[in-house]
C-alpha cells in the first residue's frame, strides 16, 4: 500500500484523516484507488482531461512528481499539496 498525506483542503473527503492508504503501481492508479475509497476527491485535484489542477502538486517522498505515470512502491509516502497565494 501507498501512504497518502492529505492536505486540509481535502480532509472533508477522508473524514478528517490526514494520512490514508491507497493501492497502485503508479500515481495515476493510486489516485483512482484513492477516489474509490473517498469518492469525489480525485476530481477536485485532477481535471477531466487527467491534468493536475493548477494549484495542486504531488510529491513522492520529497521529490515533486511531474507525471502521473510515475512509479511508486509499497510503503512510499505520496504528499498532496495545495498552495495558493492572494486573497
Amino acid at each position: 500500500m501507498i501512504r497518502i498525506a492529505i492536505p486540509s483542503h481535502l480532509a472533508s473527503y477522508t473524514d478528517g484523516a490526514r494520512e490514508v492508504e491507497a493501492a497502485g503501481k503508479n500515481l495515476a492508479e493510486v489516485l483512482h484507488d484513492l477516489d474509490r475509497r473517498y469518492p469525489g476527491l480525485r476530481f477536485r485535484m485532477i481535471d477531466e482531461q487527467d491534468r493536475l489542477r493548477p494549484h495542486i502538486k504531488l510529491f513522492v517522498g520529497s521529490e515533486m512528481a511531474l507525471r502521473l505515470d510515475q512509479q511508486v512502491t509499497a510503503g512510499e509516502l505520496v504528499t498532496i499539496t495545495a498552495a495558493l497565494s492572494g486573497g
Partner: protein
C-alpha cells in the same frame, strides 16, 4: 401570504441565507455555508421548495456542486459534477474551471437542472443535481469556438455561459447567454442552436452586422409574458418581444451621462413593462463601478421608454461598488421588494419597489449572486 422573504447569497468566500420577518424589516443571516468556497450561484428548486443547489469551487480545488434537500441544514456533494468529455491523448481537451450558473428545469420535469460553466459549457442533470452530463449539441457544436472566440475570449474571470432559461410553455425551448458569444436559443432541448442577436450592438468589434460574438451580461424571460425578453448587454439594454427576432435598444432612453452599461437586469413578476437595472461605468478603460461613485438603480415602468433614478438611501458619493449579473433580484410580495448585493459585500434592500433603500447586511465577502428562495 406573509411578506417573509428568504435570500440566497453566493459570495467569493461562501454562501449565506438571509431571512426577513413578516414586514421585511429585520433580517437574520444564516451562514457561512461552505466557508472558503467561491459560490457563484445558490438556487432553490421551486418545484419542491426546499432543495438548494450551490455552484462552488475553492482557489485550490476543482469545481463541484453541493446539494441540500433541507434548505441548507445538510449538504452533499454531487457524485458526478459537470465535466467536459475526455479527449484522446494528444488532443487539447477543455476542463470546467467553475460552474457559473444553475437553472431548475421545467415545472413538469422535476429533478431536471441545467448548469452553465466557465469555460462555456452547458450541462444537464436529471436526478436533482447529483449527476451531470454534457449537452452534446452545445458542448460539441463545431461552431462553438467561432461563436465564443475560444476560451480566452470572455470576462476577466473567464468566459461565462449564463442566463439559462427554460421556456415555461415548452421544456425543449431553451435560451442561453454567452459572455462572449451572444444570445442563442434551442427549440429541441439543446440538440441544435440558433443565434438571437439581431439589433444588438457590438461596439468592441469593427463596424458591421454580426450574427454572434456579442456579450449579453444578463437575460431574463418575463414570468408574466413568456414572449418578452429583456437583456442587459455589454453594449446596452434591450427588449425583445417574440416572435420578433430583433432586439430594441431601450437603453437609449437612459440619461446620457449615466449610459446603459451594467451587469444585472430584473423584472417585476406581474408587470411586463417594469424592470430594474444597476448602471455601471463603461467608459474609457471600463472601471465597471457605480457611475461617478454614486450608486443608483434605474427603473422603467413602460417597457424601457423612460427610466427613473432610484437612489434614496444609497451612498451619495465615493461608493465605487458594482453589482454582478446574478446579484440583483426581486421578490413576489404585494409591494415588490428589490435587492442587490455589491462587490464590497453589502446587501441592499428596498421594500417599496426601489423607492428607498436600506443596507441589511455588510462586511460580507464580494457578493456574486443573490436569489430569492
Amino acid at each position: 401570504m406573509g411578506d417573509e422573504v428568504t435570500l440566497l447569497l453566493g459570495t467569493r468566500k461562501g454562501a449565506w441565507i438571509a431571512r426577513s420577518d413578516a414586514g421585511r424589516e429585520r433580517w437574520a443571516l444564516d451562514g457561512p455555508h461552505h466557508l472558503g468556497n467561491m459560490v457563484h450561484h445558490l438556487v432553490r428548486d421551486p418545484r419542491d421548495g426546499r432543495t438548494l443547489l450551490a455552484a462552488a469551487r475553492t482557489g485550490h480545488l476543482g469545481p463541484t456542486v453541493f446539494r441540500s434537500a433541507d434548505m441548507g441544514e445538510r449538504w452533499k456533494e454531487a457524485s458526478k459534477p459537470p465535466a467536459f468529455d475526455k479527449v484522446p491523448a494528444g488532443e487539447k481537451g477543455r476542463a470546467v474551471d467553475h460552474v457559473f450558473w444553475l437553472t431548475p428545469g421545467h415545472a413538469d420535469q422535476p429533478g431536471v437542472w441545467y448548469a452553465g460553466t466557465s469555460p462555456q459549457g452547458l450541462f444537464r442533470s436529471e436526478d436533482g443535481g447529483d449527476t451531470w452530463h454534457a449537452i452534446a449539441g452545445f458542448n460539441g457544436h463545431p461552431d462553438l469556438e467561432t461563436w465564443t472566440g475560444g476560451d480566452k475570449d470572455g470576462t476577466p474571470d473567464g468566459p461565462k455561459l449564463h442566463s439559462v432559461i427554460v421556456h415555461p410553455d415548452d421544456p425543449d425551448h431553451l435560451y442561453i447567454g454567452m459572455s462572449g458569444g451572444g444570445s442563442f436559443e434551442s427549440r429541441d432541448a439543446g440538440a441544435t442552436w440558433s443565434p438571437l442577436n439581431k439589433g444588438v450592438a457590438m461596439d468592441f468589434a469593427p463596424p458591421g452586422d454580426y450574427e454572434y460574438g456579442h456579450d449579453p451580461h444578463c437575460m431574463v424571460l418575463h414570468p408574466a409574458d413568456s414572449n418578452r425578453l429583456y437583456q442587459q448587454n455589454h453594449c446596452g439594454i434591450y427588449r425583445l418581444d417574440r416572435p420578433a427576432d430583433t432586439w430594441v435598444r431601450i437603453g437609449d432612453n437612459m440619461p446620457r451621462d449615466v449610459g446603459d452599461i451594467g451587469f444585472p437586469i430584473v423584472v417585476h413578476p406581474r408587470d411586463r413593462d417594469t424592470a430594474w437595472v444597476f448602471p455601471m461605468d463603461g467608459t474609457d478603460v471600463w472601471p465597471r463601478t457605480a457611475v461617478r461613485g454614486k450608486p443608483a438603480v434605474y427603473r422603467t415602468r413602460d417597457g424601457g421608454q423612460a427610466w427613473q433614478r432610484q437612489d434614496n438611501g444609497l451612498p451619495r458619493e465615493q461608493a465605487w461598488l458594482t453589482v454582478m449579473r446574478q446579484a440583483m433580484v426581486v421578490d413576489a410580495c404585494k409591494t415588490i421588494g428589490v435587492y442587490f448585493g455589491t462587490t464590497q459585500g453589502e446587501l441592499w434592500a428596498s421594500r417599496d419597489e426601489g423607492a428607498s433603500w436600506r443596507c441589511i447586511a455588510r462586511h460580507l465577502p464580494r457578493i456574486y449572486a443573490v436569489e430569492v428562495a
